[in-house]
C-alpha cells in the first residue's frame, strides 16, 4: 500500500487541524520540519469538518484548509464534511 500525505504550515490556526487529523487517522505518522508538518498515512487519510469544528468551537469550512496547506499526495475526494486522500492501488 502506498502512502498519502498532507503537509501543513505550523501555526496557531493549524494546531487544531493537525490534532484532529491525527485523532481521526490513528495510522497517520507526523513528521515535523522547520515551520511545517508532514502527515504520512498508509493508503488513505481523512480530514473531518466535524472534528475540527468541535476543537475550535465554531463551524469549520473544509475549504479553509487551503489557506494553510503546503502540499499533499493522492487522489482527493471532497464533500462538505470530509476531505479524503487515497491511492487506488
Amino acid at each position: 500500500m502506498s502512502k498519502v500525505f498532507i503537509a501543513l504550515q505550523t501555526n496557531d490556526d493549524t494546531r487544531p487541524i493537525i490534532e484532529s487529523i491525527l485523532a481521526d487517522n490513528p495510522h497517520a505518522v507526523p513528521v515535523e520540519s522547520p515551520a511545517m508538518i508532514k502527515i504520512d498515512a498508509e493508503g488513505h487519510l481523512t480530514v473531518k469538518r466535524e472534528s475540527i469544528s468541535e476543537l475550535i468551537g465554531r463551524d469549520f469550512d473544509l475549504q479553509e484548509l487551503h489557506t494553510h496547506l503546503i502540499s499533499l499526495s493522492g487522489h482527493i475526494d471532497e464533500s462538505d464534511d470530509e476531505f479524503t486522500l487515497h491511492w487506488n492501488d
Binding site: F5, P34, M36, W87
Partner: protein
C-alpha cells in the same frame, strides 16, 4: 407559483456544475474547429468532455475570500520583515545566493506558467478544464509577484537581484529554465498540461517548495518561507489538476496512452535536469540544512512519485525509462552541479564558494559512497588554491547539451569518472547531448530542438554583446562585453563569495546590530 415550492439544497458538485460548465454551450454560428483550433493536432482523442471531474470546486467568491486572506497575511509578514531589517537575521549571507537563483530562474517560470495556463485555459474545448486552468493562470501570476515583492527588499541591500527578467532572456545558465518552459508552452495544450500540470507540479515542485522552503525558514528567511508556503497552498490545487488531467486523458481513449507515456518520459527527464540546480541549492547553499537533496529526493520523488506511478499502472502507464539513471545520479547531482557553477562563477549573478570542513563532513555523512571518493579531493584542492589567492575560474566556455542546455557536466551512468558524451547527426549537422534521455527527446522532435538558442554558441556568433559593440575595435574584451550584455556587474555580482561586497556588507551591518554605537 413556483416561488412557493421549497428549494432543494444543491450539493457541492451540482452547484459547481451550474457555476461553471453549465455556462458553456456548443457554438453554432462558428464551427467548433475554429473556436478551439488547437484541440486536435496532438492526436489526443477526447470523446466526452462531460466526463471531466473537477479537481477542486472553488467558485470565484470563495476563491477571492481565501486568496485575499492569504494575501493579507503574506504582505503583512513581508512588510514587517522589511521594516525590521529581517535580512540581517538570516544565518549567513551565503544563503542569499540561493534566493538570487530563485528570483532569476524560478520567478520568470511562474510568469510563463501564468501565460501558458491562460493559453490552455482558452484552448481546451472542455469548460470544466478551462476554468481550472484559468484559476491556475492567476495563481501563477500571484506566485511571480509575491516572489518579486518578497525579494524586493533583498535587492535594496544585496547584489545580483537587480535584473531578473533581463537576465532570464540572456544569461547562459538561465537558458536551462527558459528552454524548459519554452518547450512546454510551444507544445500543444495537452502536452503543456502533462508537462507542467503533471510531471512538474505533481512529481517535482514539492522538492523546491517543501524541503527547500522549510530550509529557508530554518535559515531565518521569513520572506521566502512565507511566499514559498503561501504559493504552495495553491500548488495543492495545481497538483490535483495535473493528476485529474492525466486520468481524464487516459480514460478517454486507449490510443492516448502511448502519447501520454512519451510525454511523461520526456517531462520527467526534463524536470529532473532542471531540478539539478535545486539539488545544489539544498546541499551547498543553505548554511543550516534540513535534509540532503538525496533524502528529499527519496521522500518526494521515489516514495511519492512511486506511489503515483503505481496508481497509474492500471491505465498502463509505466515508470519513466529514465528512473534508473535518476536513481544513480542522486548521489552525484548536487556535487557535479555545484562544481559547474564554481567553474563559471565569473559569469553568474550570484556568488559561489567552497564548503567549510564542517560542511564537508556533513556531505561525507549524507553521501558516504561518493563524496569523499570523487568530490572532496577536488573541493579541498580548490579551497587550498583559493586560500593562496589562486581561486579557480574556468575561463573557456563549456560544451552544452542541445536539449537541456546544461554544461555537459554529468557523468556516464555507472562511471562517475567519465563525462557522458552522446551525439547525433541530423540533416548534415551534429548535435551533442548529456545523456541518452536528452538525445532521445531530440530524436523524437528534431525540428524543434535544432532551434535551441544555446548561449555558448550565441556568444561565439557575436549575438551577445551590448547593442552598438564593435568586436573589431582594438582591445575588445569579449567576456566583459558579454557580462555587460547580461547586466552582470563585474566585481559586485559575480565570483567568489569570500570577500565579496555582499559578504563584507553583511558582516559590517550585522556587527552594527550587535553594538550600541
Amino acid at each position: 407559483m413556483d416561488m412557493q415550492v421549497p428549494k432543494k439544497k444543491l450539493g457541492l458538485k451540482e452547484r459547481y456544475t451550474l457555476m461553471t460548465r453549465d455556462l458553456a454551450w456548443d457554438t453554432t454560428y462558428q464551427p467548433k474547429e475554429k473556436v478551439y483550433p488547437y484541440a486536435d493536432y496532438e492526436g489526443i482523442k477526447i470523446h466526452d468532455w462531460d466526463k471531466w471531474e473537477d479537481p477542486f470546486r472553488l467558485t470565484m467568491d470563495a476563491y477571492w475570500k481565501y486568496q485575499a486572506e492569504k494575501e493579507r497575511k503574506l504582505y503583512a509578514i513581508i512588510d514587517a520583515y522589511s521594516q525590521s531589517n529581517g535580512h540581517l537575521g538570516v544565518t549567513d549571507a551565503r544563503y542569499l545566493n540561493a534566493i538570487k537563483i530563485f528570483l532569476t530562474a524560478v520567478t520568470p517560470l511562474e510568469h510563463m506558467a501564468h501565460r501558458g495556463f491562460a493559453h490552455v485555459g482558452r484552448a481546451f474545448p472542455g469548460a470544466g478544464a478551462r476554468v481550472a486552468c484559468q484559476m491556475q493562470a492567476i495563481d501563477e501570476m500571484r506566485h511571480a509577484q509575491t516572489q518579486i515583492h518578497s525579494l524586493s527588499n533583498y535587492n535594496k541591500y544585496y547584489n545580483g537581484f537587480h535584473d531578473a527578467p533581463h537576465m532570464y532572456d540572456r544569461v547562459w545558465y538561465l537558458s536551462v529554465p527558459k528552454s524548459f518552459f519554452d518547450d512546454a508552452i510551444t507544445a500543444g495544450p495537452f502536452e503543456f498540461i502533462v508537462s507542467v500540470g503533471f510531471s512538474f507540479e505533481y512529481v517535482l515542485t514539492n522538492l523546491l517548495f517543501v524541503p527547500f522552503v522549510s530550509g529557508a525558514a530554518y535559515n531565518g528567511d521569513m520572506g521566502t518561507m512565507t511566499f514559498g508556503f503561501s504559493a504552495q497552498s495553491d500548488e495543492a490545487r495545481h497538483m490535483t489538476l495535473g493528476l485529474e488531467c492525466i486520468k481524464f486523458i487516459l480514460e478517454q481513449d486507449p490510443a492516448n496512452l502511448p502519447i501520454v507515456q512519451r510525454w511523461i518520459d520526456k517531462w520527467c527527464w526534463r524536470g529532473v535536469r532542471l531540478l539539478s540546480i535545486v539539488a545544489m541549492m539544498m546541499d551547498y547553499m543553505l548554511p543550516k540544512r534540513v535534509m540532503s537533496w538525496k533524502e528529499a529526493w527519496e521522500i518526494y520523488f521515489e516514495e511519492n512519485g512511486g506511489a503515483l506511478f503505481k496508481d497509474l499502472a492500471r491505465y498502463g502507464i509505466k515508470m519513466p525509462a529514465c528512473a534508473e539513471q535518476i536513481r544513480q545520479e542522486k548521489d552525484h547531482l548536487s556535487h557535479q552541479v555545484w562544481s559547474a557553477f564554481y567553474n563559471y562563477s565569473g559569469a553568474t549573478d550570484f556568488h559561489t564558494w567552497m564548503p567549510t570542513e564542517e560542511e564537508m563532513q556533513w556531505l561525507s555523512q549524507k553521501y558516504p559512497d561518493t563524496f569523499d571518493k570523487y568530490y572532496r579531493p577536488r573541493f579541498e584542492f580548490w579551497r587550498e588554491q583559493q586560500e593562496k589567492g589562486n581561486r579557480f575560474y574556468n575561463k573557456t566556455l563549456p560544451m552544452l547539451c542541445q536539449t537541456c542546455q546544461i554544461p555537459m557536466a554529468f557523468t556516464e551512468p555507472g562511471d562517475p569518472t567519465k563525462i557522458c558524451y552522446r551525439e547525433r547527426s541530423y540533416k548534415g549537422n551534429k548535435y551533442h547531448f548529456c545523456s541518452d534521455h536528452c538525445r532521445h527527446i531530440f530524436d523524437n522532435e528534431p525540428e524543434k530542438y535544432v532551434q535551441a538558442w544555446l548561449p555558448v554558441h550565441q556568444i561565439y556568433q557575436g549575438n551577445c554583446f551590448p547593442e552598438g559593440t564593435d568586436p573589431t575595435a582594438p582591445g575588445f574584451d569579449p567576456l566583459a562585453a558579454v557580462l555587460e550584455y547580461y547586466r552582470i556587474n563585474v566585481g559586485h555580482d559575480n565570483g567568489e563569495f569570500e570577500g565579496s561586497e555582499d559578504h563584507r556588507n553583511f558582516e559590517a551591518w550585522r556587527g552594527m546590530a550587535k553594538r550600541n554605537d
